[in-house]
Amino acid sequence: MSTFWIAVIGSSALAFAIKYIGASVPETFLSNPRILRINTLIPVALLTALVAVNTFADKTKLVLDNRALGMAAAIVLLIAKAPFPVVVLGAAISSALAYRYI
């Protein structure tokens, strides 16, 4: 079996196993207030990290490029209480313009 097939099948199988195990852990595990509190904060931590990395990282390098301008536009739109599609579109348009003209 080739390198590619091992990577494709192995990673897919483990990815599903993790998803399924997560969905199958007993409910009582979540009734602990500390676990509940941590579990509510986990998306905040991961979403923030995803925002930061998707904006300022190129693989393992830190970069300041067109995406930062797109994110600045997104923050302004969020503060102005713009609806979600407008925020995303505004970020995309600002970033695409910066990519082309800066």
Binding site: F4, A7, S11, A23, S24, A45, F56, A57, L89
Partner: protein, 213 residues
């Protein structure tokens, strides 16, 4: 905000980024079939990019599997969060598990009541699945024009989508403090550890900050 509209915007935005995945996979010498299978079976963007990235950089298949799996552990945590909400058994749990990803949980958790949360999960999970796979095929087949995500602003649309999901969750001082530390940690780690690790590492911050009331 309507849950259908949220789900659709996220599905289209994130789904379109699948073209970049399809194109990168084929550029790294994966076949079109292998690229499509990764989107169908692995179905977790960051993990898929990790598989392709590690192989493209000359890593071993085991290295690719390990990096991808480490990135995928957050889906297990999401499942843990969703299980008491969805209360599923049998094949429905299998289907739900497969579409437990950043976007489906993100939209679900951003809703106000449990019925809306369930809708947000299913709509977004299926929506992203459909668009992500279609665009993966399109990207893999060599749609070079859209294969450059920067020219279309897609590379900024993805973090903007995450930010839009994060925004309503920054409701108290604790979450703002956590967000600040998460940015610092993720960006400090980025040049020093393999791609993907900085994101998952921020789970530790949630545990530390959530430990005390």
């Amino acid at each position: 905000m309507s849950v259908k509209r949220d789900s659709f915007s996220v599905s289209i935005t994130v789904g379109a980024y699948g073209s970049a995945f399809g194109a990168s996979a084929v550029a790294a010498d994966f076949s079109v079939l292998q690229a499509c299978l990764l989107s169908l079976l692995l179905f977790s963007g960051a993990s898929q990019f990790a598989v392709v990235g590690v192989i493209a950089a000359g890593g071993t298949p085991l290295n690719a599997i390990a990096t991808s799996t480490l990135l995928g552990t957050r889906n297990g945590l999401y499942g843990l969060r969703l299980a008491p909400l969805l209360k599923l058994r049998g094949w429905k749990r299998v289907v739900a598990a497969q579409i437990t990803i950043d976007e489906s949980i993100g939209v679900a958790l951003a809703q106000k009541d449990e019925a809306q949360m369930r809708k947000g999960f299913w709509y977004t999970g299926f929506g992203v699945f459909v668009f992500w796979n279609l665009f993966t095929l399109a990207g893999a087949l060599g749609a070079q024009a859209i294969g450059n995500p920067s020219a279309w602003g897609l590379d900024a649309a993805v973090p903007a989508a995450f930010l839009g999901l994060l925004w309503p969750r920054l409701s108290d001082r604790k979450s703002w403090v956590l967000a600040g530390f998460a940015i610092l940690l993720a960006l400090t780690l980025t040049p020093n550890v393999p791609a993907g690790i900085p994101i998952i590492s921020c789970t530790a911050l949630a545990i530390i900050i959530g430990w005390r009331k």
